[in-house]
């Protein structure tokens, strides 16, 4: 269910990862791959990685997302002690254990998620952010377990829950166990729902496969960032199946809003405000 990164046509910066950025000498200026204009890095960062020229929402890591959402110094990480175990001893052209190690070194993270409590404009919430820079944000046992623990913690404490998704889908290297994370997270959300919890699901570019087909589409309120690719199947799989060109804008946030699948398309600069507003309406 996880799709290849190259399959998602979304344009992005060459240097998404902070580690690599600093290694680039001419890194003061970046070329936006959406509009082709040169942008001053500090402008871009101040603009939440949205291109000041063309408003394109570029992909950001979980750490950057948390930095953007949380009130200053309010984030307290939780469940950061989980890491993948390669239960199937999976091997394709490369062993999963080697892949994991390489991704951990590359990103400095244990897996494709960060979770914890934070305050968003003074409202406390349980927040999970998936991380595309780690194996395309794919969901294996660690992501599934972290999300489930966060949901259960939110159920126990009565906190609102915010999950910011970006993922290629379920992680193939854990096969059936990855698949089961879909049922596990959905079942946990059923209990949170029964307890009257508020779950705000934020879909960002790209959210596909088993992540979309589980917790990401189960929000009480569903937000999407502009022009994010959101779908069950990847565009190329659909194209191969139906053997015709996909319509312009298909599987993009605005298409999903028109189709009745998301509540609001939200500019990144408004995300904190909008989350706070929904929390207020819910009385949580």
């Amino acid at each position: 269910m996880a799709r290849r990164a190259s399959e998602t046509p979304t344009r992005t910066w060459n240097e998404v990862r902070p580690q690599r950025r600093s290694a680039i000498p001419e890194g003061l200026w970046l070329r936006c791959q959406a509009c082709g204009k040169m942008v001053y890095r500090r402008h871009l960062e101040a603009n939440l990685n949205v291109c000041p020229e063309c408003d394109f929402h570029h992909r950001i890591s979980a750490a950057e997302r948390i930095g953007q959402l949380a009130d200053t110094d309010s984030f307290q990480e939780m469940f950061g002690n989980l890491s993948a175990a390669d239960p199937l001893q999976f091997k394709d052209l490369k062993a999963y254990s080697d892949r994991l190690l390489a991704e951990q070194i590359k990103t400095g993270a244990k897996d494709a998620i960060k979770a914890g409590r934070m305050f968003i404009k003074g409202r406390e919430a349980m927040v999970c952010c998936l991380d595309l820079t780690f194996m395309m944000g794919s969901m294996g046992s660690v992501v599934g377990e972290t999300i489930t623990r966060a949901i259960e913690e939110a159920t126990r404490t009565g906190l609102p829950l915010v999950i910011v998704s970006c993922s290629g889908g379920a992680r193939m290297q854990e096969s059936g166990l990855s698949l089961m994370q879909m049922a596990k997270t959905s079942a946990a959300l059923a209990r949170y729902d029964q307890a009257g919890g508020l779950f705000i699901s934020v879909l960002t570019d790209p959210t596909t496969g088993g992540v979309t087909a589980s917790f990401a589409m189960l929000g009480d309120v569903i937000f999407a960032e502009p022009n994010a690719l959101i779908g069950f199947a990847g565009p190329r799989v659909i194209q191969q199946t139906i053997r015709q060109e996909l319509p312009e804008g298909f599987q993009r946030s605005e298409f999903l809003r028109k189709s009745g699948l998301v509540d609001r398309v939200i500019h990144r600069s408004q995300l904190r405000n909008e989350i706070a507003r929904i929390i207020d309406y819910s009385g949580k």
Partner: protein, 340 residues
Amino acid sequence: MSAYYQLDFEKPLVELDRQIEALETQLKNEQPAAAGDPGSHVAKLTADIASLRARHASELKAIYAKLTPWQTVRVARHPQRPQTRDYVAMICRDFTELHGDRRFGDDPAMVTGFARIGPLKVMVVGHQKGKETSEKIACHFGCAHPEGYRKALAKMKLAAKYGVPIVTLVDTPGAYPGLGAEQRGQAEAIAVNMLEMSRLAVPIVSIVIGEGGSGGALGIAVADRVAMLSNSWYSVISPEGCAAILWKEANEQTNSAAAKSLKLTASDNLALGIVDDVIPEPPGGAHRDARSTAMNLQAWIVQQIQRLRTVPANDLLERRYERFRKMGVYIEQAEPAASA
């Protein structure tokens, strides 16, 4: 036997099939003349046929005893393999089919209805791939649309309302990837099914009868007990899909490697704790003896539901939650002492 669609690894049987058939034809021609001539050519022919048949049976058993995962996938997709409607015809009485999701349409790739199985009243929900070309096309080869998943949920809720246990038969390469499916919320439909199935207060049992392809399979398989027929497969992605992504190309060799890596067979899934039981098929696969497969299936369903019916609803839901809650394998380091 020669009427069977041939799988390449069954080739050693083809020559035996041919020989048996030739001798049977001879025997037919001999019979009238030989009637008054006991102990003769006819008896020899009959004995030869019997020994060929015995060899055929033992070869078949030997081949199926050591199927590779990729060969198992091929058996699971055998065009003559029994499908949901076949099992319904063999094990259900008074099948009362119920149609439609009340929202968009009636997906023929999802079959739903009340039925009696043995002493039980149940709701049957299952993927249907289709047999004839027209039915296959209508069913999108077992790839259900959102309306199929919503139909399944609507009927399961109906069953739960009246305390009727639910039996789901999983047989899909995956949920349909298409324009309409995406526009109507394929992902949302599957997600909602999983959420709601986790809290339906009646016993639910699921059996993967052929292909258990990813979310499309799990969308009707959040159950108290899950089993697989011995030659079915269940995984997060098809071997071809996995090969195309991780091996950069899907061909016989990479499909086979992917099938092995994905641990998708019934015994693999049993070892991983993803399924609770494996229901045996006769040697040579369910398509060679649909009826005995159906009897095994029925016996499992009846036994499981009778057990589950004795469990109070609260415990049932608690156990179902725990069944999925414990899935996943990861390393947990001791939390460092909280500093903040």
